[in-house]
């Protein structure tokens, strides 16, 4: 019995692992084992099919571009040049590689190289700190700023910057949208007063939000040489993503079950008590649904906004790799794509788990 319960909890967070977990839980019914085994097999099979199709597709694209290059050399410079081009492509030299969709293996190799690169940079950084520790101690003793490492950011640092930005933006969205949503939800006249505002600003694109925030923050930071890219990007992300929470909070607060309101009236709860003991708890599920949407929107727009704001995150990474056009740039972009997708998925699971924890109607939330 106990096992069942813990399994359920895990299931909420990592439902996609459930087939695997179920497989190793002894006293499960036979039907369940068969069912989850089937699910696991299907999942693995579909991943393999996906990788296979990807591999074939990238190979076809590669061949197409390679043939085009050889053909071009033949037409423009003659048979010898074409033969040289063919040899160059076969040798894997970066100067003549077809620049197209990388294969799964190339992407895997890029991931390894990014991790190796991260290790190198981390070691660098540690050595730097070590070397500077004495000097920095002196500087601090003299009341000056310590010298910090300003070398290249590793892929892991980049991912962490993105996550930091998205959480800062999410927090900003929460702090703005939830209180305003509550106030709007409580008052029908404020609701109509704010309605046009919400309707107009909700569909505004992330790019425009970025420009708006840029205009304002740039002026506020005037004369200050410190880097404001992070500030601009998290504010833009927050403003862009907060609308779902605002609308859901207002909706939750304004549509509290009449029965609960009647209870509050019969018990003669004061206004404060009524809001905090009845209205808010009953709107929590909707508020969290809004927050979940906000977080996923935040993560989605983050990439575009980081790119515009030149903030050292995944968005800028992808863009720079694309501009860079190095041999493994394309596979690094695909690595980033998977990392973005997986983190987005994990963030959503995290929110779902929190949502399930706070919602009293467990069976209602999906």
């Amino acid at each position: 019995m106990k096992q069942d319960i813990t399994l359920k909890r895990e299931g909420q967070f990592l439902a996609f692992l459930k087939p695997l977990v179920g497989k190793f839980t002894p006293n499960f019914q036979r039907m369940d084992i068969m069912g989850s085994l089937k699910k696991t097999v299907i999942t693995i099979f579909s991943v393999l099919v996906f990788l296979g199709l990807w591999h074939l597709g990238s190979k076809a694209l590669y061949n197409k571009e390679a043939n085009f290059k050889i053909e071009k050399a033949l037409n423009e410079q003659g048979a010898v040049a074409a033969e040289a081009e063919r040899a160059c492509i076969a040798s894997g030299d970066s100067s003549c590689q077809p620049n197209t969709l990388p294969s799964p293996l190339q992407v895997w190799a890029s991931l390894q190289s990014l991790i190796a690169d991260h290790k190198v940079i981390t070691a660098d950084k540690a050595a730097f700190v070590e070397k500077m520790s004495e000097r920095n101690a002196q500087l601090i003793a003299q009341g000056k700023d310590a010298i910090v490492y300003t070398g290249r950011a590793s892929f892991v640092d980049i991912v962490l910057t993105s996550i930091k930005t998205v959480f800062a933006g999410f927090l900003l969205a929460l702090l703005i949208a939830v209180p305003i949503g509550i106030v709007i939800g409580l008052s029908p006249s404020l609701r109509s007063a704010f309605n046009w505002f919400i309707q107009i600003f909700k569909p505004v694109s992330p790019v425009v939000w970025y420009l708006l925030v840029f205009m304002i923050v740039k002026t506020l930071y005037i004369g200050d040489s410190s880097d404001n890219a992070f500030v601009i990007s998290f504010i833009s992300v927050g403003l862009c993503a907060m609308w779902a929470t605002l609308v859901n909070t207002a909706m939750g607060v304004s549509t509290v079950d009449k029965d609960y309101i009647n209870v509050a009236k019969v018990l003669k709860l004061g206004t404060f008590q009524k809001i905090f003991k009845v209205i808010l708890p009953s709107s929590l599920p909707l508020i969290f649904t809004g927050l979940r949407i906000t977080l996923s929107v935040a993560w989605m727009v983050l990439i575009a906004i980081e790119l515009l704001a030149q903030s050292q995150g995944l968005g800028l990474f992808v863009w720079e790799e694309f501009q860079n056009g190095a041999n493994d740039s394309n596979s690094k972009i695909i690595v980033a794509m998977f990392v973005i997708g997986i983190i987005g998925f994990l963030l959503d699971r995290l929110m779902l788990a929190i949502q399930n924890m706070v919602s009293f109607n467990k069976n209602e939330s999906v």
């Binding site: 029965d259 609960y260 009647n262 209870v263 009236k265 019969v266 018990l267 003669k268 709860l269 003991k277 009845v278 708890p281 009953s282 929590l284 009293f360 109607n361 467990k362």
Partner: protein, 279 residues
């Protein structure tokens, strides 16, 4: 002056063309210490009537007087047991009752409040479930929590809207006795809404049928002259019980038939289908 008085009450929902008059010309007076039951068909306006008395609704015309004062708001003097329990699902049994007790006894300290909560939860036999949430309870248990919550506030008058409607016969019988116990202990006043004639006869001093709406109004009252405490098993052989029961049921059947023959009107249904909320 009666304890509770309803004078020429009319209640209309909606406005203009779409308005319906649910209650018409309701007159009722209840004396202190009395136990009155109102029986009626579903949808006849019983809940509306209850909400007029407890102060959640205002009559369109007419007045509700409680101890001579017009009812303009809810009051702790009138405890309510709602038809659908209305427990707050995010609070445990104990917390639900505590919230009510705290409001009813604002000057008392925490020890007193907690004691009172556990006393009343024990009274309805739910001590083992005091830390459970409503969704973990059966319908009968939830209803008992609602009873405990209303009674723990120590109201002078208990207003019950089909409090036992959703319960099985056995639980129902137990709770009937519990409610009667509490009512008789401090001689409170009680108003019971029910759709079960037998329940009304077993518990009440008077039964008043509510004629089906729209324009529902109260029918003639039936006095129950059976000595208390009443014995449920013996009741079936009591000639007085049989007579009253037959009279009430006959009356209800009559107005039921009347309603059938009256409602020849054909209703045009609007052309709508359920809206899908799944985005």
């Amino acid at each position: 002056m009666a304890y509770l008085e309803l004078n020429n009450i009319y209640k209309t929902y909606g406005e203009g063309d779409s308005s319906t008059e649910v209650l018409s010309n309701i007159n009722l007076s209840i004396e202190e210490g009395e136990f009155v039951a109102i029986v009626g068909f579903t949808g006849s306006g019983k809940t509306t009537l209850v909400n007029l008395i407890n102060g959640l609704l205002k009559p369109t015309s007419g007045e509700v007087l409680f101890k001579g004062q017009p009812v303009i708001d809810t009051s702790h003097e009138r405890g309510v047991i709602f038809q659908n329990y209305s427990l707050l699902p995010w609070l445990t049994v104990g917390q639900n009752v505590f919230m009510a007790v705290k409001e009813a006894f604002p000057k008392e300290n925490k020890t007193f409040l907690k004691q009172r909560v556990s006393d009343y939860v024990a009274m309805v036999g739910l001590s083992p479930a005091i830390n459970k949430r409503p969704k973990e309870l059966s319908g009968g248990m939830r209803q008992r929590v609602a009873v405990a919550r209303a009674l723990a506030m120590n109201p002078e008058m208990i207003i019950m809207d089909e409090p036992l409607g959703a319960l099985d016969a056995l639980t129902r019988g137990n709770l009937q006795d519990e409610i009667l116990n509490i009512w008789s202990q401090d001689k409170r006043t009680a108003l019971l809404i029910t759709n079960d004639v037998d329940e009304g006869i077993y518990m009440a001093d008077r039964i008043i049928p509510l004629k089906p709406g729209p324009n529902a109004t109260l029918g003639p009252e039936f006095k129950i002259d059976i000595e208390r405490p009443r014995d449920k098993t013996a009741l079936n052989d009591n000639p007085n019980f049989k007579k009253t029961r037959n009279a009430i049921i006959e009356y209800l059947m009559d107005i039921g038939n009347e309603r059938k023959s009256v409602s020849q009107k054909e209703y045009v249904l609007p052309d709508i289908s359920p809206k899908s909320f799944v985005a």
